[in-house]
């Protein structure tokens, strides 16, 4: 029996060796891939404890912060994210375990989350991130928000030199503090509160097509009519031809989505084959603010950014400096504010009328470019100009 017992012992020891080998397989060879699986509940547990950095406006005002809840053990607890300025939700964004991130929370996610150093991982310290400062001027943003009131629409203010976005308002907004509870209602709301109208709302230019036409005429070296604000659009555009108009739109980048930290929507060029008119050209308010900045400057469209200070950028030239100078001359002045107001009709928007204002300030030494869109309003300057005025007044101080 001695021999049999020895053989049996060998067999069982071989079994233990097999277990050791499969331990190596699962705990070393397959471990990284497995641990990263989405259904690993440890990821959620770790995520709940990540101390995200704060989001600050350009003056250091807190826009989002994380508040660790004490655990029963007094150790690293679950973190709650707070947003003191829920009206700025489209800019600040949201952070949700269920719905991910949006807005600046998504754009600066890497900074806010930070990295978990190997030593911290070993010691089970929660991951802690860094603060991120946004180019937003929260004081002005609040004023802009109030100026727009309960109307649907968007406001964008850019620094003409750096491209820093000072104000970014989209109405209606949502409350990121209660996003998880509200999501189902928000997602079905016909007013689309989850859509950032400033960067993704593509609006027909209507009257402001005149601005694009003038840019095209000046760039092509064609003499502009003596009364560019009152001549009929068709008559003014006649020398440019439709293809010239489309070429100008492309030259201004309206066929693509502007580069930005937040997702942006590409413009829509008019379909002249299908009864389209130049007034149908549609772009985002952000893009129109860039056009205003190019006019206010020397033809460079700034690269918009939410980071403060703005990272170095090399903006492309959209038109020649003398074109910009000529456009400045024909741009209407409203005291210290220069800009174009207009209306897009329901035919052009396909829905409700809307009022535009696109301009820059101060008129004599431009520093800020602004675009305002108010949905459901055909009041033109009467509606959009006061909003632009109040917003810019809040910045200048």
């Amino acid at each position: 029996m001695t021999h049999n017992i020895q053989r049996l012992a060998q067999f069982i020891l071989f079994g233990f060796a097999l277990i050791a080998a499969s331990l190596l397989y699962w705990q070393v060879a397959r471990a990284p891939g497995l641990a990263a699986r989405e259904d690993n509940p440890r990821l959620v547990q770790a995520e709940l404890r990540v101390r995200r950095g704060r989001l600050l406006d350009r003056n250091g005002e807190v826009l989002a912060y994380s508040d660790p809840q004490p655990d029963p053990s007094g150790l690293d607890g679950v973190v709650q994210r707070h947003y003191p300025e829920p009206d700025a939700s489209h800019t600040v964004g949201y952070y949700s375990l269920r719905y991910g991130t949006g807005g600046a929370e998504a754009a600066f996610d890497n900074t806010l989350r930070g990295q978990l150093a190997p030593l911290d991982r070993l010691l089970h310290r929660p991951q802690a991130g860094y603060d991120a400062r946004l180019s937003i001027d929260m004081a002005a943003q609040r004023v802009a928000d109030q100026a727009l009131g309960d109307r649907r629409g968007a406001i964008v203010v850019l620094d003409t030199d750096t491209g820093e976005v000072m104000v970014l308002v989209s109405h209606p907004a949502y409350d990121p503090n209660t996003l998880d509870e509200d999501w189902d209602v928000l997602a079905l709301d016909p007013d689309a509160p989850l859509l950032n109208r400033a960067t993704q709302g593509v609006y027909a230019l209507g009257d402001l097509a005149r601005l694009v036409g003038l840019t095209g005429l000046l760039s092509a070296g064609i003499t502009t009519p003596p009364d560019p604000l009152t001549t009929s659009l068709d008559k003014m555009l006649a020398p440019l031809s439709r293809s010239g108009y489309l070429a100008t739109a492309r030259q201004l980048g309206f066929d693509g989505a502007p580069p930005f930290d937040l997702p942006t929507g590409p413009g829509l060029l008019p379909d002249f084959q299908d009864q389209g008119t130049p007034r149908d050209l549609a772009v985002t308010p952000l893009h129109m603010a860039r056009l205003a900045a190019a006019i206010a400057g020397d033809g460079h469209m700034p690269v918009p950014t939410l980071a403060y200070p703005a990272p170095p950028a090399d903006p492309d030239r959209s038109f020649a400096p003398d074109v910009a100078a000529s456009l400045q001359v024909v741009t209407p002045h409203f005291d210290a504010l220069a800009g174009w107001a207009g209306v897009a009709t329901p035919q052009e928007t396909g829905d409700q009328p809307l009022s535009w204002f696109v301009g820059y300030a101060p008129a004599d030494d431009p520093r800020f470019a602004i675009a305002v869109v108010v949905e459901g309003s055909d009041g033109g300057a009467d509606v959009s100009l006061p909003i632009a005025r109040q917003t810019l007044a809040a910045i200048k101080e």
Binding site: I12, A31, P41
Partner: protein
């Protein structure tokens, strides 16, 4: 120097060297489990409450008492016992206490906020009681003055007792958790799983039967074609008893125990006869039984499917095994540290999946150490078998070794997706009183046999 009449162990100087460690080394080996448990419970207290609560160290005291008392009694009355077994059992039981404290549902006696003395979870208190009872049974088995002839002689009585208890579960069986297979007898917080006892009794029966019929089993008395086999009259009673046990277990849907019985039966048959063809035939039968079971029974098919392709239904039918693998994966080499992983994401982690929890929190190194402990335990059992004086003792010790080995292999392999998962306990470590009591009894039998060497 030879002192006359100084004890049975003194007769053989060779065994003095192998079996008897120096007293100081033995004490050191006994301190290790207590040290390990102390670290584990201090760690748990710190992780869970942020401070060291002395009340949480009660289980360490219980373990130290069991080990110290056991060692004292053994050295006093059975000085020639195997000196490695008790420390091994102590270390595994200490790990078991720590894992129960870590993993079992955190229900407390007396409710929350009644002071540190009452915050021990109910499951932990139960496990401690079972550990004390187990130690007493172990000592009783070792200290029985006679040899094990009484076990051998009444083999049918023992086995029928076990079978009767098991059969009772078919009628009045319960499951303490309120759902799942009804494998327990008892009520009001005290439950016993007869299949655990039957395991031990079947070992005794097989050892006794095989010892009596070893010679005749080796004689070829019948032929079927080229297939030679012993006379059915010799093989029959054994196959009948074993088949009856298997049938009961399969009826009960206790697949793990059935698999274990089958494996132990083959192992002991091999030890007794040395016939590899029995083993091969048995394994072939196992495969056939598996295929038939897969076709006929949903609960068998479910386990095989969950094993063969767990990723398809990772959040459904394969949830347990996938969560087990995720626990192993997140443990890595060094582990997360006791109390700092998330093994509780695995359903019923404190019984069937305790090895996955060890893998997550003690890491690859800790899990390998546990494997090494079981290998040592099994190796020690076979060592004792080799040194045993009587055939019955040899067979019984080898059977116990095979049972410890196969049982730990089956559950480790199950949690690691090497074989389909079947619910058996990890001896000494998993939560479960019947399992701990049976394992302790078997350790006691091993110690008893180790005192009566050749």
């Amino acid at each position: 120097m030879v002192h006359n009449g100084a004890g049975p162990g003194m007769r053989n100087t060779q065994h003095r060297v192998i079996g008897h460690l120096l007293p100081s080394t033995y004490s050191l080996l006994l301190i290790l489990p207590v040290l390990f448990a102390t670290i584990a419970f201090v760690q748990l207290s710190l992780v869970e409450t942020g401070r060291l609560m002395l009340g949480r160290l009660i289980p360490v005291g219980v373990l130290a008492l069991c080990l110290g008392g056991g060692a004292w009694a053994l050295r006093r009355w059975r000085p020639s016992h195997d000196r490695l077994l008790l420390p091994l059992v102590g270390l595994l039981s200490g790990l078991g206490l720590a894992e129960v404290a870590r993993l079992a549902p955190n229900l407390t006696l007396g409710g929350a906020g009644e002071g540190p003395w009452l915050v021990l979870p109910t499951f932990l208190v139960r496990q401690m009681v079972w550990l004390v009872l187990g130690t007493l049974v172990l000592l009783a088995v070792v200290l029985i003055p006679e040899d094990l002839r009484w076990l051998r002689r009444y083999r049918y009585t023992w086995l029928f007792t076990g079978l009767a208890l098991l059969a009772m579960t078919l009628v009045i069986g319960v499951n303490p958790s309120g759902f799942g297979a009804r494998l327990w007898l008892g009520a009001r917080g005290v439950y016993f799983q007869p299949s655990e006892l039957l395991k031990l009794l079947l070992l005794v029966f097989l050892a006794s039967y095989l010892e009596d019929r070893r010679q005749v089993l080796l004689d070829v008395e019948a032929r079927i074609g080229r297939w030679q086999m012993p006379h059915p009259a010799y093989l029959g009673p054994m196959l009948l008893m074993w088949g009856f046990s298997m049938l009961l277990l399969i009826w009960q849907r206790d697949l793990g125990a059935a698999l274990l019985f089958f494996g132990v039966f083959l192992a002991m048959l091999y030890v007794a006869t040395g016939q590899g063809r029995y083993v091969l035939t048995g394994l072939a039968l196992l495969v056939v039984a598996g295929i038939v079971g897969y076709r006929l029974f949903d609960h068998v098919a479910l386990r095989v499917d969950a094993w063969w392709n767990p990723w398809q239904e990772a959040s459904g039918r394969s949830f347990q095994i996938v969560q087990s693998l995720l626990a192993f994966a997140s443990g890595g080499v060094l582990g997360q540290g006791l109390g700092q992983g998330l093994p509780t994401a695995i359903p019923v982690v404190h019984t069937d999946f305790v090895f996955a929890a060890i893998g997550e929190e003690y890491g690859l190194l800790g899990a390998l150490a546990v494997i090494a402990l079981f290998a040592l335990l099994v190796g020690r059992a076979f060592h004792i078998a080799l040194g045993a004086r009587r055939g019955f003792d040899q067979l019984l010790a080898a059977g116990i070794g095979a049972l410890f080995g196969l049982q730990s292999l089956v559950i480790m392999a199950g949690t690691l997706r090497v074989i389909p998962l079947t619910g058996v306990t990890l001896p000494f470590v998993s939560y479960g009183g019947s399992s701990l009591l049976t394992s302790m009894t078997m350790a006691g039998l091993l110690l008893h046999i180790s005192c009566h060497r050749r």
